[in-house]
Symmetry: C2
DNA sequence: TATTAGCACTCGAATCAACCGAGTGCTAAA
DNA sequence: TTTAGCACTCGGTTGATTCGAGTGCTAATA
């Protein structure tokens, strides 16, 4: 089930030492030597004993040395063990909780404002890159659709989903419509398909097209034409919101020019991240992806903390943070989970 | 009229040498020594003579030396003279022209797509940061407005301006409206104010409110309420689109970590740039702002090439590129001017 | 008088050796 | 099994040296 299960059986002393090394390293960013650990550890071990354990841990791949005479540094495998088995429980502090509640609550009126606030919030609280990925558009459910004639064959489509997230698009049609026809088509679609997902609507339209009625009834024919045009113009894109990208540069391990350039280019083309989230993650629980576990070279060496959020009707999105492998996983995870829960309840209430 | 007029009287030889130094420096990025110029210049001068002229140019502030035994580098004043008096005429090559035409033409249907394509295009063609600043929203002219009831007091507003750029916003009203009331209010506003700018509409609404009719006629009363709510929710923001921000990291003179961080933070908060464009520029002609001439410390040391574009009804926006002072001003200016003309004609045609 | 050849000088960049010190691995004693 | 002790490693820093591109100045030249 968990691919690192077999390793959870490290001896208590090794676990203790590994934990100290990793949390110290996360704090300071400096390689940790045996003396430092000997002093911190309450077991009163000597540095020589610690050295022995460290050598074992290195042999098993949990630690490595930047060079022969330096202290130890966690490997990705080390971080993995730390996250799976050693992570201290952290709850979000009450001050921070209040801050979050206020920031997302204030967005009250418009839900899309809350959506946009989340990456900003995550970036601000963790000093890393915050993101939010909306559910696939095809999972979104129709509340209202309306067509507006702009000019001869140009039609403006306004789409409102059940959570009242609004989007619009201009279509170039191959035929001229009267505004009254557009109104009727809109009413027909809402009446017929309200509450269905775009995918379901697409299928229904295809079915309708095959039926006899469609060729007879002009309203239905128009509705099919407009509806399919709109659905086809969806390139099934999802909204990927990022914030705090400049925070990346504050981490010394990522601040050399080439890395920075590569990462920023990746942030500009967001599909890398979308793909990663879609492919690697189980939509039922939060997840941490560490360094090389994410195989996209464009994001190489970054760690990802992700938690799903859910509309009442099941459409699932993701939110989380992105940062260097040297990250405060405990804190990041706690925040990400807290915010995803909060946002999910916000969404379900709105939906009612 | 032009604050550098007095200096245009440099001797021909000095002009020639300054021109060579600056264009070489723009090309290579290396300080230029006297020998290099002596070889290039067709007057067949010796390096010693060139040195004398260079010393004069330095004394007058057109050049400087990074250190005592290095070649010369242009100062901002030098660039200014170069741009004002020495700039070679450049026309956009036919291949590039075709490329631009195609990219903006293809956006045919939706004008906002062309708007978004422009910064990308500029960034691509100049390897710098491309931007586009839309006109102030208050200058935009109404074509259509429509209200849609979402939920009790939440009203969706859809606004279409005369160039068919669409925007929407959700309002939290303090009173409940029926959809039929919303429809009437929308029709009233369109009928009454179509073609007027938001500023003008705002004034008219205030005037209306004072009149007797407003208290009697429910349609007018609703229209006033909804219209002012919408206008007040405008924070008079303008759209500032940027693209190619990662390009600045390719310029060695800007690639040190601190500068990069500062610039990226500035790009995230776009108001610096908006302010700069609003304050410093005459909306009737293209303009180049060089290094320290732009006094915003957040953008310190960058040069800005800007050209206005115009809707038929007079609303003015800006587009251009942003890059290091060592920039190919001739090329950048030619491209920016070409694209602004093209976009202006696109806008006026659409408007018809 | 304007130009140029010649030369001493300057200063950043690159190279190299020496040194320091944190941290290690190993061995032998406790 | 733990620990004290010690030789060893290796990155980082410091300082001296050299190299070379480019300058300013002076004296000779056209």
């Amino acid at each position: 089930m968990n691919h690192t299960m077999q390793d959870i059986l490290l001896e208590p002393r090794a676990r203790e030492i590994l934990k100290h090394i990793i949390s110290s390293y996360i704090l300071t960013g400096e390689p940790i030597g045996s003396r430092t650990i000997a002093k911190i550890s309450r077991e009163g071990l000597s540095s020589a004993s610690v050295r022995n354990v460290m050598a074992d841990l290195e042999e098993h791949g949990y630690l490595s040395q930047p060079h022969a005479s330096a202290g130890r540094v966690p490997t990705d495998k080390g971080y993995r063990y730390y996250v799976d088995a050693l992570l201290p429980d952290v709850v979000v502090g009450s001050r921070e909780r209040a801050f979050i509640d206020q920031n997302l609550g204030r967005a009250g009126g418009e839900l899309s404002a809350a959506m946009e606030a989340i990456p900003k919030l995550l970036a601000h609280l963790t000093s890393q890159v915050g993101y939010l990925l909306s559910p696939p558009i095809s999972d979104v459910r129709l509340k209202h659709i309306e067509f507006l004639k702009l000019h001869e064959r140009r039609v403006l489509v306004i789409f409102v989903d059940r959570t009242e997230i609004v989007s619009h698009r201009v279509l170039d049609m191959d035929q001229d419509f009267e505004q009254s026809d557009l109104d009727r088509a809109g009413r027909y679609l809402v009446g017929e398909f309200s509450g269905l997902s775009l995918n379901e609507i697409r299928e229904s339209l295809v079915r309708l097209m095959a039926e006899e009625k469609a060729t007879v009834d002009r309203i239905i024919a128009n509705a099919i034409k407009l509806g399919t045009s709109y659905l086809d113009s969806e390139s099934d894109e999802r909204r990927m919101l990022l914030d705090g990208t400049t925070n990346i540069m504050n981490h010394p391990e990522l601040s050399d020019t080439d890395t920075v350039r590569r990462l920023f280019q990746t942030f500009e083309e967001k599909h890398h991240l979308v793909k990663l989230l879609d492919q690697c993650l189980d939509p039922n629980r939060p997840r941490v992806l560490i360094g090389s576990e994410n195989t996209d070279p464009a994001l190489g060496g970054l760690s990802l903390v992700a938690s799903p959020y859910r509309h009442a009707d099941g459409a699932t999105g993701w939110l989380g943070v992105l940062g260097p492998t040297r990250m405060e996983y405990d804190r990041a995870l706690a925040l990400v989970v807290y915010i995803s829960r909060l946002f999910s309840t916000l969404l379900t209430h709105r939906n009612a």
